[in-house]
């Protein structure tokens, strides 16, 4: 009942209020996203993983750091669904807790990167001139390194660990966001309604903050969703190379790094975290691809 009335209200051709129009837009985006099976599969997997890692302490059958040297490297069984690792720790529990590390890293990176990229891009695009060239030169310099290489060098210089990894990935991840926000800003800057705001005496900061930045958000969301998988993979690669989360942490990349030694004998110890990374980043790619189709018809 509530559902149908919300549907009718949201899809009303003549919305009575601003919020109704907004909800109508959101609902239409949701409807077209819903018709894309891959995107829905992606969303489902992401929600599942998010819930599993959020409630890991309740769900996990064992303490992820509980060692049982009598039961090392056990095959998957009823007691340990995914087997045990080289210290007899339950792999399923470690995967669940590792999800917290991975998702936490991804969220932190995005929380740092997206606002910085948006701010730099909007300022560069709106101000133009010297400010623009200066900011874009800096952006170019950071874009001139492959992401993983620069992150590796940064972490090595700081100190291997989760915090350094987040910082390093953030430092290497913001330039594309800035570029994107700048491009969007430059097209919005010359529209009539921005000219109208200027005429009414709005300051340039107000115009940027209230009228330009919000319009850059949809394309940034798509970009972020598509970027998630690359952030996850970079974080896992740093862990794998020993420069990210450190040994006792159940971070997936670090788990694979330790299990590399005995991959030929106990293959599941390394393969299962690998599958976890693959599933999550594939899910983000599915969702991002679907979102791009919905939010950014230009690209198709």
């Amino acid at each position: 009942m509530i559902q149908t009335s919300f549907r009718n209200w949201a899809l009303d051709e003549t919305p009575a209020s601003r919020s109704q129009a907004n909800w109508g837009r959101r609902y239409r985006i949701w409807l077209s996203l819903k018709s894309n099976p891959l995107a829905m599969i992606g969303l489902g997997i992401i929600l599942l993983f998010a819930l599993l890692s959020l409630f890991a302490p309740l769900i996990a059958p064992y303490d992820p750091s509980l060692q049982n040297l009598g039961n090392r490297l056990a095959r998957p069984s009823a007691g340990h669904w995914f087997g045990t690792d080289e210290l007899g720790r339950d792999i399923l529990s470690r995967i669940l807790f590792g999800g917290r590390v991975t998702l936490g890293m991804v969220v932190s990176v995005v929380a740092v990167v997206a606002p910085i990229g948006l701010a730099v891009g909007c300022v560069a695009g709106y101000m133009g001139g010297v400010v623009d060239s200066a900011l874009m030169r800096i952006t170019d310099v950071f874009l001139a390194f492959p992401r993983l290489i620069l992150a590796l060098a940064f972490v090595a210089a700081l100190k291997p660990g989760v915090e350094s990894a987040i910082l390093a990935i953030a430092l290497t991840a913001w330039p594309p966001y800035a570029r994107l926000a700048r491009a969007e800003t430059m097209t919005i800057r010359n529209t009539d309604y921005v000219a109208a705001y200027r005429l009414t005496g709005a300051s340039r900061w107000r115009i940027m903050l209230r009228h330009i930045a919000p319009l850059c958000v949809p394309s940034l969301i798509v970009r972020t969703t598509l970027d998630m998988s690359s952030i996850i993979i970079t974080a896992a690669s740093l862990g794998f190379l020993g420069m990210g989360a450190q040994a006792p942490s159940p971070e997936w990349g670090a788990m694979i790094a330790t299990a590399k030694r005995f991959i030929f004998e106990q293959w599941w110890v390394a393969t299962i975290p690998g599958i976890a990374i693959f599933m999550v980043s594939l899910a983000f790619n599915f969702l991002g691809d679907g979102l791009r189709d919905v939010l950014d018809p230009k690209q198709n």
Binding site: A144, F145, A157, F240, G242, A270, T271, L282, N285, D289
Partner: protein, 337 residues
Amino acid sequence: MNARIKNLSSLLGSVFLTLLGLTVITFMIGRVMPVDPVIAAVGDNAPEAVIARARIEMGLDQPVVIQFLHYLAQIVQGDLGKSILTRNPVATDIARYFPATLELATAALILAAVIGIPLGVWAAVRQGSYVDQTIRVICLAGHSVPVFVLAMISLLVFYAVLGIAPGPGRQDIIFQDMVPHITGILTIDSLIAGDWDAFHDALVHMIQPVCILAYFSMAYITRMTRAFMLDALKGEFIITARAKGLSAVAVVWKHAFPTVAVQLVTVLALTYAGLLEGAVVTETVFSWPGLGQYLTISLMNADMNPVVGATLLIGLIYVVLNLLADTLYKLLDPRVR
């Protein structure tokens, strides 16, 4: 003509600034490290006086700006400092390790292009069909799987279980140092030496890492090809070509494809740069003695000169490839002239 010179000089100017920025970043990375380079060079137990003298000898008592200028002058002369681990100059080490990476990345790019471009064209021609969806999933999967996971699974399946592929490394022990070192690229060196067994051995060892790297970059090439082709197929000249009764193959390959070829050159250049990144991780799994392995081993040992040197080199290649892609695009595509 005047406008051209102006364009060129502004392009060179921006490249110069980017390169300067690269050196600023690598200089800063080299400086913020927690390990004191002086202690790293003379050892923990060196007496105070020796440490102080080494600090002055290494120029670390100078102001930062002066230090940076010194660093810049050294780089221009090709001096990247010394590796603590190998005790060689970093430039010498890189010259030795880099050909292995180059061999891997080049072979992977060729394979990726040969498979990826036709796949992308196919997906565009059959847009929305099962073929398109399947190719889309294959590509998204390629974006989603970490290279090291794929590399390890491949070693597990093809080497350990099936036994049809050689193990990690670049050649079998019996071929070690058998071929004279000329280019450093084993397949070419063994051909020059006329040693077919060594050539076969080098080729077989390349198959796994090359296929994995190629899959990883193929995903990108295919997606871009599909997008470009979709655009091209909407052109009115395609309707004309169809209307005059050309076969579907001729329309796609003789009319639509040439218009996207130029854009693809840019994509390939960027892919090549991206391959260097993938190579770092792949090399550690396959024990491939390339730049990536050199970089990671130095990282583990907090040996910063090689780290900074290798990072700088990769950044430099990235910038040059980008510049090349840009220039080729302007040169080959009459629409942007």
